[in-house]
Amino acid sequence: MANLTEADLKLFVDSIKHYLKVTTRQEPQITSAFLGTGDVQGFEFNGIVTFSGSYNGHVVVSMPARLLRELLLLQHETDLSDGNLLDAVGEIANTLAGNARKTLGSGLVISVPVKMQGAPGIKSRVRKHPFVITLRWNHHEAMVCVDMEKQD
């Protein structure tokens, strides 16, 4: 994490705010942003994108079912099954990672999103000192966890 600058990390804060504002017209409130430990407590639905190329690591979007259901309903989606909630959280992670290339450069290679159900999902992917962004959207808490380092 030492190689990431504050500006690099701010782009993920701006990115999740932008995503929710554009897709739902409701901007989230960023409740905290801090350097965490490996013991991150996530939510039930997790979308994980792996970085390679000019950076190594992951971005994890962790959200509760209630938030994802509301997000889908706002987009007029009627299938609120767990499969669709996982699909939605994976798509959000994919969008944050893809948008990061605009700032971090096209040398940043991003994977297709991996989706994991269950709060321990986030723990299995983060290393010792992830950058954690917590947010509240429409009365629901969620988290974005950025764990990446620049390659020389």
């Binding site: 669709n84 798509e91 969008t95």
Partner: protein
């Protein structure tokens, strides 16, 4: 106008379908939904779409490879890239291969409607 929607996210496939259905694009009919490039090529051979919305980051076959294959199949096909990979070099690569437009995710319904109309008009 026959539209094929290619995206690995079901949420996005359904959303684009809804925008087409409810957004005043009355001359556009969705003829297929594909969740990766390989599926898109299989469907395109049968459904013969005029317009394709194309995600880039997908399993099996990504969007860049799929654009090249679809243009080879039908050089007149209109491809609108709809992707989170919004950096300049990715957009240029897609346009060089023959894509006609680019919409960055996240997008509003209005942005997608305008882009689809532009791509449809370019025929």
């Amino acid at each position: 106008m026959r539209l094929l929607i290619v995206d690995d996210s079901n949420m996005i496939r359904i959303r684009i379908s809804r925008v087409v259905k409810n957004g005043g694009l009355k001359n556009v009919a969705v003829v297929g939904l594909a969740k990766n490039g390989l599926e898109a090529i299989r469907i395109a051979k049968v459904a013969r779409p005029d317009v394709v919305t194309m995600d880039l980051t997908m399993p099996e076959m990504d969007g860049i490879e799929c654009i090249a294959a679809l243009i080879k199949l039908d050089p007149k096909i209109n491809i609108l890239v709809v992707s989170a990979l919004s950096d300049k070099s990715t957009a240029i690569a897609a346009l060089k291969l023959g894509a006609r437009g680019f919409v960055a995710k996240p997008f509003t319904d209005e942005e997608l409607q305008i882009a689809l109309l532009d791509v449809s008009d370019s025929r």
